[in-house]
């Protein structure tokens, strides 16, 4: 009797294994094949403009990459873009979430307006900012500057990276706001009243009650935004094309430039592998620290 019951799970296991095969195969094909091909190409001489130099390259592509000053600049730009946008969206998102939680006339309309940028696709957002807002001649900012008698600023020439950061932050702020607003609203209002009875003013309530309550939601925002911000591309492509010089070239744009402007598939693949490693390092630390917080 007992041996029979012990055998049953083993018997079920084999067909079970077969049944999950299709999804496993699809997943493998989906993920492993491109990954392996990228790694493979990164060890090959593979330039579409120089088909005669083909074959195994060893670490040449990597050497070329790390000795290329553009690479280090793009790495720095990637991280600067990531961290600036994270800080801006989380800080502003938290403040706006707390603000939008208060009752004030026109709150619902204000909420919709604040969240609507999220529905605009990145290329369009970048175009709007480039031509309607930041353009020194046609742009709103230029017009305002001139109205006050200042010289209009040519944003993309003078502060290219900051301009891209502004655009990307504008796109991601609604997301942060949305998540954080729902979190603020889920705060038990008796808790805040208890804090009021305990003598907490507005700032103390924010620091000791609201912020700790929001920590999970902030973690989620940081995690999700990081995944997308490591690969910002359209905004850069549309506005600055990585320039002036390499001022706004991030890793994603560098890979694109290598592969499709210089036709150097091998070099681009090496950049891709670095990007994968970078994303994994960031994800490892981030996911670990946030997962720990989510447990609380």
């Amino acid at each position: 009797m007992s041996s029979a019951t012990q055998e049953t799970p083993g018997a079920i296991k084999a067909p079970g294994g077969f049944l999950v095969m299709p999804s496993v195969i699809v997943l493998l094909a989906w993920m492993i094949v491109p990954l392996v091909m990228t790694v493979w190409f990164s060890f090959q001489y593979y330039n579409l403009l120089a088909p005669e130099t083909a074959g195994f390259a060893g670490l040449d592509n990597y050497e070329f990459l790390v000795t290329d000053p553009d690479f280090w600049v793009s790495l720095r730009n990637t991280l600067v873009l990531l961290s600036s946008v994270l800080v801006i969206t989380v800080v502003l998102g938290t403040l706006l979430a707390v603000l939008f939680d208060q009752p004030f006339p026109g709150r619902n309309i204000a909420r919709v307006l604040a969240i609507s940028p999220f529905f605009i696709m990145p290329t369009v957002a970048a175009l709007i900012w480039k031509n309607l807002m930041m353009h020194p001649i046609y742009g709103v900012f230029g017009a305002v500057a001139q109205a006050f008698g200042f010289e209009p600023v040519d944003w993309f020439a003078q502060f290219p990276l900051a301009s891209v950061i502004a655009i990307v932050s504008w796109e991601w702020l609604p997301f942060a706001l949305l998540i954080l607003l729902t979190a603020v609203q889920s705060l038990d209002h008796e808790q805040r009243e208890a804090a009021r009875m305990d003598g907490a003013g507005v700032i103390a309530q924010f620091v000791f009650i609201t912020l700790p309550h929001l920590s999970r939601a902030i973690g989620v925002v940081v995690m999700i935004e990081t995944i997308f911000l490591l690969t910002v591309f359209a905004e850069i492509f549309v506005t600055t094309s990585g320039g002036p010089g390499n001022a706004t070239t991030n890793l994603a744009f560098l890979i694109y430039a290598r592969a499709l402007l210089q036709f150097d598939i091998g070099g681009a693949s090496a950049g891709g592998v670095v990007a994968i490693v970078l994303a994994n390092i960031v994800a490892f630390f981030l996911v670990r620290s946030i997962a720990r917080r989510l447990e609380v």
């Binding site: 038990d188 808790q191 009243e193 009021r196 009650i209 700790p212 609380v296």
Partner: protein, 367 residues
Amino acid sequence: MATLTLRGLRKSFGTTEVIKGIDLDIAEREFVVFVGPSGCGKSTLLRMIAGLEPITAGELRIDDKRVNEVGPADRGLAMVFQSYALYPHMTVRQNMGFALRLARVPKAERDRKVNEASRILQLDPYLERRPKDLSGGQRQRVAIGRAIVRDPKVFLFDEPLSNLDAALRGQMRIELSRLHEELNATMIYVTHDQIEAMTMAEKIVVLRAGEIEQVGSPLELYHHPINLFVAGFIGSPRMNMLAVKVVATNPSGTEVELASGARLIVPSSGGARVGDAVTLGIRPEALRPDPNGVLQGEVRLVEQLGGLTLLHVAAEGIDDMTVQIEGSNGTRMHQSVRLSVDTSACHLFDSSGLALAHLTRHPLLAA
């Protein structure tokens, strides 16, 4: 330890008036309980006292100082919420010390006060835990501890025991009474629960639709309710209400005729005249099975609680006259019973619901 004075207190949310003029005096060290049906404004009144809800009109004085405009933290009150409202990311010790930390009390003194409170509430083993790792009763004690460390003049409780199971509620009831004794503090307590109100209160305030119906000691309200509402609200099981007619008034009371034609003389007098339709209120324990009883009825349901038994009797035109008798009584369902009435424990209410005054005070209240 403080006196509270409420004068013409009113509260409106928009155009709806929720509290309609409350006048109340609360003495030092008194344990006052607000009771009333759901939605009558008990919580709102408590929150107005706490300062969490602005006062629309009237005056609130604590120790004879007007505090309408004083913020909740500066009124010297502490509140225990129904949901406990503990800070989930802080340990028990941090929860209890939060108010002192905000007041910049030095750490040594803070710890001393927290330890003192935790000793009173037997929370020592849990000081380093988070609220989520505590049982409901322990959380409740932490919430009370958070109030104690602030050394408030007045404690406010909003249905603090309603989330606990019956056994724990009984235990916490005793602990709260003990705490009141030990801390010598004024306490205001909101509840739905008859037993909590009767056992803990020194003074019960019965509210209905934002107005005070009656204020008095538990026994005062039980034995001398001023109207039908209070009579029906205080006491569990509820008082039985019968429509009767006045047939005679004399110095020993008012003689009434029941639906069956039976007559009772209730030792109450007042404006009732012969022929008036009045309401007779009989507490379940004032009825008892008696072969010579004046009432006749059929037992519809027997609820045996062990020590006590409740009979639901169809008699005098009502289906559900509750009779409370000893658990040893063997009366069974569908049996026909005669009931005698202890008329000294009966009440008469005129057509507007006001009680006719008893000729004598209840012996326990005579002094």
